[in-house]
Symmetry: C2
Subunit: 82 residues, 2 copies
């Protein structure tokens, strides 16, 4: 059964307070190599049947409407695994 | 500047209520091809300098300690992009 992974990230021009908090924690624990951290979401959709073009088109529609808020987020990748 | 992506998902044996809610919403709107949805986190760490083995080792350590809770989550992938 294929799985389709949808990655959603906060838009680059928006602050990401959760990411800033993690970046601050990294700095305080001495990991100074990391200049920025951003935190988004990873959705794994299990598909019943083949992950063909029709399913991918449906996933693109779902990603844009249900899985992300296009005011503040971008769908950065849709990938088929398995 | 390379970016290291860390993907964290809820463990397979745990319920994922957020994922179940999305799966339910998909079913109600007529997208019946999707049998399961799970929702995890995607961290993007911007690295100052090359993403060499030392940095990756540090990221593995950070992923296991700071970015995930190993009681309920698995680090499923650590990937270098750019």
């Amino acid at each position: 059964m294929p799985t389709i992974v949808v990655d959603v990230m906060p838009k680059a021009e928006l602050l990401d307070p959760q990411g800033k908090a993690v970046a601050g924690a990294l700095g305080r624990q001495g990991s100074t190599r990391f200049t920025d951290v951003r935190i988004g979401k990873r959705f794994e959709l299990a598909v019943d049947g083949p992950a063909d073009e029709a399913v991918l088109a449906e996933v693109r529609e779902i990603a844009a409407t249900l899985l992300s808020n296009d005011v503040i987020e971008d769908v950065v990748a849709i990938t088929v695994v398995d």
